[in-house]
Amino acid sequence: MSLIAILGALEVGLIFGLVALGVHLSFRIINFADLTVDASFPLGGAVAATLIVLGWNPFAATAIAFASGALSGWITGWLNVRLKILQLLAGILVMISLYSVNLRIMGKPNVALISEPTVFSMLAIEGIPEYVLKPLILLVVALAAKLVLDFYFASEAGLAMRATGSNPRMARSQGISTDRHTLIGLALSNGLVALAGALFAQSQGGADVSMGIGTIVIGLAAVIVGETLLPSRSLAVATLACLLGASLYRFFIALALNIDFIGLKAQDLNLVTAVLVGLALLMPAYRQKIRKARLRRPQPSKESANA
């Protein structure tokens, strides 16, 4: 595998690391199965690409993209907490409506950004090739997003949000507005996903209305792979695991594109992904089994120690 392919995997992986942070926030922290991300990802790309083509500063365009994603997450939350529409359904409603909205924003299905300025071209440093610079910039962005989330989760508002997800009844009895924190959580989650979409469009030559397909699955896969590799109760480790999981997932795809061994081909990727996520899901139960087996035998035999 070439260096460019590895760095490309890291680049795409870090962008989807932002998606994983967003998915972690909705699925794990506030316990909301949010499908809006399949549309907030292209929404971010659509907003950023359209504004850049209109002559906006790429950084401003990216910030507006974040805000547009936050708005879409807020709408999903509003449908759920105010109108009492089921979580999944609320997400699906916003997702399908955003498809039309994205087409309206772009005015056509595809807005190209080949020679336009982007946040990457504005930060370009003479002498460093683009394929090295992009993952570097994205590493800084992803780590910054992780640190901001860590900081937020440790604040009073963040703790209230975590309580909203883990025990809403208790949270309410403590005077926490669970509705408000669900709305904030979804807004923040989809803002991050839209930010990822905006960066993806700028690094990959344009926004396409179809670019959101499967975002939720990839985000979840990254979260689960990360959790399996770095199991921890600490949220700071969990957010790091999101970035790690997303990058690793992309590295595996890069591998799958490069190997012919055991006859695997690129078109088998979806199956490989499903198997990988399935295995990762089995791991906690498997670990528990080992732990139980050890408890039963105070002196662990050689066998179980190896297991």
Partner: protein, 318 residues
């Protein structure tokens, strides 16, 4: 688990591409697999073979499909750029954009992109002066309208199903509206955002149109049988832009055979392999147009094909 990952990684490392001798290498990618895009790919490899390249011996040909996933398309683009093949062939707009965004040096030949200028792959239809050239699948709409008039002489309203999310299709439908207006026909559009929406989108046109036009659209191509079924039931003749659709149940098509488009793409690849600069080669449009008709489909869809039309057809299905 960790151990498992390590073993897998080691396996993968061990099987990394063995360096090949200095054979020319061509890397092909498409955004998604379906009959038209697959035909392009086959056309490219057949053309290379016809020009004396023995695949696997005197030429390495690699193919990767992004399976409709833009993240994978981006990674395929990076992998190809990292592998430094002699030519990268990118089929359909999203794949072509990902590749063009990833390299300004390796020659890129796009194919089956309807409007490469709007997609910013090239600045104009002239020679680009960059590393990019290719073949557009822009349909000859005026000729298609002529065919519609021959197949359904009394038709006034043309129904068209297309995916609103596909750049190529939106370009086509807009152009079709203009061209139809100029010859006194109206276009009624019906959007199918997903392949499963194609039958219901076609159903919604029944009673509002006199003839159906099937554009070169990914969703329509994938779910063409669904469109044909509705057309049979409602007795609406289908005139298609892709000749393969006639085999699958359209009354007639003047196309744009994607296999030939692939052969034409392959010719550009060969010229680059022989040392020509892609920047000096203008974007091409399909050179071969052939008429194909299907008599049993015509009967089912209530169209009468004139003997002259059948005579000029290159292929007649019964």
């Amino acid at each position: 688990m960790k151990k498992g990952f390590l073993v897998a990684a080691l396996f993968a490392l061990a099987s990394f591409t063995v360096a090949h001798a200095a054979q020319p290498r061509v890397a092909v990618t498409a955004i998604v697999d379906h009959s038209a895009l697959d035909a392009v790919r086959k056309g490219v490899s057949d053309e290379l073979a016809a020009d004396g390249y023995v695949l696997g011996k005197s030429l390495q040909l690699e193919y990767q499909s992004a399976q409709g996933n833009p993240g994978i398309a981006a990674q395929i683009a990076r992998k190809f750029v990292g592998d430094r093949p002699n030519v990268i062939v990118a089929v359909a707009t999203p794949s072509a954009q990902a590749v063009v965004a990833a390299t300004r040096e390796i020659p890129v030949v796009f194919s089956a992109v309807t409007d490469p200028v709007a997609a910013k792959l090239v600045r104009s239809w002239e020679a680009s002066g960059t590393n990019v050239t290719g073949v557009s699948d822009l349909s000859p709409l005026n000729k298609h309208l002529d065919l519609i008039k021959q197949v359904a002489p009394t038709a006034k309203r043309i129904g068209v199903v297309y995916s609103p999310g596909e750049a190529n299709s939106v370009v086509l439908v807009d152009a079709l509206k203009k061209a139809a207006g100029a010859v006194g026909l109206t276009v009624v559009e019906s959007a199918a955002a997903r392949t499963v929406d194609v039958p219901s989108a076609a159903q919604s046109l029944v009673g509002r149109v006199d003839v159906l036009y099937a554009p070169t659209d990914n969703n329509v191509t994938s779910a063409f049988e669904g469109l044909a079924k509705v057309a049979d039931q409602a007795r609406l003749p289908i005139v298609a832009a892709d000749t393969d659709m006639v085999r699958r149940g359209a009354t007639a098509a003047l196309g744009l055979n994607y296999y030939d488009l692939g052969r034409q793409t392959g010719k550009l690849v060969v010229r680059i392999l022989q040392g020509e600069a892609p920047g000096k080669m203008p974007t091409e449009v399909s050179q071969t147009l052939e008429l194909v008709v299907n008599q049993s489909a015509a009967r089912r869809q209530g169209a009468t094909l004139s003997p002259e039309l059948i005579k000029t057809a290159k292929k007649v299905f019964d």
